[in-house]
Amino acid sequence: MAIATDKPSGVAHIEGLDEATTALMVCVVARELRDGQVVAFGLHADAMLSAAMLAQQLHAPNLRIRHGLRAERGMVFGAAAWTDRRDDDSWRRVEYLEAHDAILRAANPASPMRFCDVFFVGGMQIDREGSTNLIGLKGADGRLAVRGPGSIGTTSIGTFAADVILFSPEHSPRRFVETVDFVSVPGWKRRAAVGLEGGPRLCVTSKAVMDFEDGRMRLRSVHAGSTIDEVVAATGFPLLLANDIPTTPVPSDAERQALAALAGSDSTAGDPAVTDPTRGDSTATDPTSGDFGA
């Protein structure tokens, strides 16, 4: 899945992806973030952090970031600011600190202190209307047969966020299914049924960028190195096709320079022996196989 481009430095590492693909995904996300928004994501979402910081540098100086791992012009919301063997001191570089239960503030997106506008969600499964599943997979009897990690913070924050961005390095029929077995965060139709506003706006994978039309996922652009046919085949439901499906623009000079500048700040080296399928930056291959979870 490598794409042919110069290797930009300073981008977060995503397990199993080469740096160029990661950089492209980071740029795609960064371009979607608008100035003044508050973006939030989970513990290990290094790529999302890179994207948010890139957007802050390039076009969104008023972006506020809520990230457990490191935060820039944002906050450490309680717990999570450490990683692996390094004790993180990012809380010394943020503008405010809040207790972890500040996540309850997600319930009021109208407040200037709102938890977020944009929230990133991954999943063991993602379906055509953008519902996600971190709960588990059904067996033949329709009951939960494969235990997932649990919904973590995704359910409520995903419920209240105006814009949900789905982030899935893996792009496979097993990940992209017609209907998720269990729902952690509801997609468009499920949201309409219970009167929720907002919903999934974008889905970024290592192969392509999708958006939504009338609540159904639609292919918007394909990364260099993949083809439309390949993406369609790798998706477990009929993907709507935009009228024009360009190649995803590669990182511009400005983006690459900004990414390189970010390399000067602390970057996180993933633990090469392991994967994390529960966050948006995961590349876990098979949630039913033994090759993750240990």
Binding site: G78, W82, T155, S156, G293
Partner: protein, 303 residues
């Protein structure tokens, strides 16, 4: 002063004596950070059963180990994982899939809302997060209701019978402090657990500090009224912010053993329990089993 102020220190064994089979036990820890592992190992040594764990909000090895050791009937947590080492905690996965352990399916916010209801003494609170999801289907205690034309979950109160925490330090009178050098561990879920608790809040700490230090910096007191047990390295193999980082090698070895459970081979897991819990008959024994060299390599130097 005619009477002395009461010393609220206690030892680990006495702390765990307060737990009985079937209790609802709150545990600190956000993923690798600040799990009360010395307490967890003592609970396993005592062979306690049928506990409901209120872990997390995002649980880690403290929960996985208690499940693997057979102490747990139900888990209230938004997720149980070993970060990058195991995206789904392996003993949790194995026993949940077998149906040995019931999962009170929720997310982090619902976890907090249930504890807030407990702290506020009300039977339930309404919450909008989770409508339109599978949570009410999987967790029958979360009822989806209509109120004023909108849909909400009724989240029932959770009130732990006892809460165990691990923190950097405390004074002998029950004032628990975060490490001054680190933000982390300062604003986890400890307060939410302690406020909802029906009984004792027991905190193991890396070190006991003088009351004078607490009074000089009251803004660093996380909570008060706790019973305090000294347990250096008490979060190992988890970490304590400002003191030591998680022991990833240890956690990885544990995860390998736990992953074997699903293949039908419980030998490695039993050997883990033997070596680090049963043969190491107390916390000091555990630290000897881990080894001084390994522990020292985890220490964070003061900035």
């Amino acid at each position: 002063m005619t009477k002395a102020r009461q010393d609220r220190t206690i030892d680990i064994a006495a702390a765990v004596e307060q737990v009985a089979d079937g209790m609802t036990v709150g545990l600190s820890g956000f993923s690798y950070q600040n799990p009360p592992m010395a307490i967890v190992r003592q609970i396993i040594r005592r062979g306690l059963r049928d506990l409901t764990l209120v872990s997390g909000p995002t649980a880690g090895i403290e929960t996985d180990l208690l499940i693997g050791a057979g102490c747990v009937r139900r888990v209230v947590a938004a997720g149980v994982a070993l970060e990058r080492i195991a995206g789904i905690a392996p003993a949790f996965r194995y026993h949940a899939e077998r149906g040995d352990v019931e999962v009170w399916e929720c997310d982090e916010c619902i976890w907090y809302v249930a504890l807030k209801a407990g702290a506020w003494g009300v039977p339930y609170l309404l919450w909008r997060g989770g409508v339109g999801t599978s949570l009410p289907e999987l967790n029958t205690e979360l009822e989806e209701v209509e109120e004023n034309g909108g849909r909400y979950l009724r989240v029932p109160a959770i009130r732990p019978d006892i809460v165990f925490l691990h923190a950097a330090e405390a004074d002998p009178f029950g004032n628990v402090r975060a490490c001054r050098q680190a933000y982390l561990g300062r604003s986890f879920a400890e307060r939410a657990l302690a406020e909802a608790c029906n009984g004792a809040v027991i905190c193991t700490v890396e070190s006991i500090v003088a009351n004078e230090r607490v009074v000089a910096e009251p803004e660093w007191t996380l909570l008060h009224g706790a019973l305090v047990a000294q347990a250096p390295w008490g979060a190992h193999p988890g970490g304590v912010s400002g003191r030591y980082v998680p022991d990833l090698e240890h956690i990885r070895a544990y995860a390998r053993a736990a992953t074997e459970l699903r293949t039908g081979n419980d030998g490695p897991y039993r050997r883990y329990l033997e070596a680090f819990i049963h043969e190491a008959t107390d916390h000091d024994g555990y630290l000897r089993a881990v080894g001084d060299h390994e522990l020292r390599s985890l220490r964070i130097e003061a900035a």
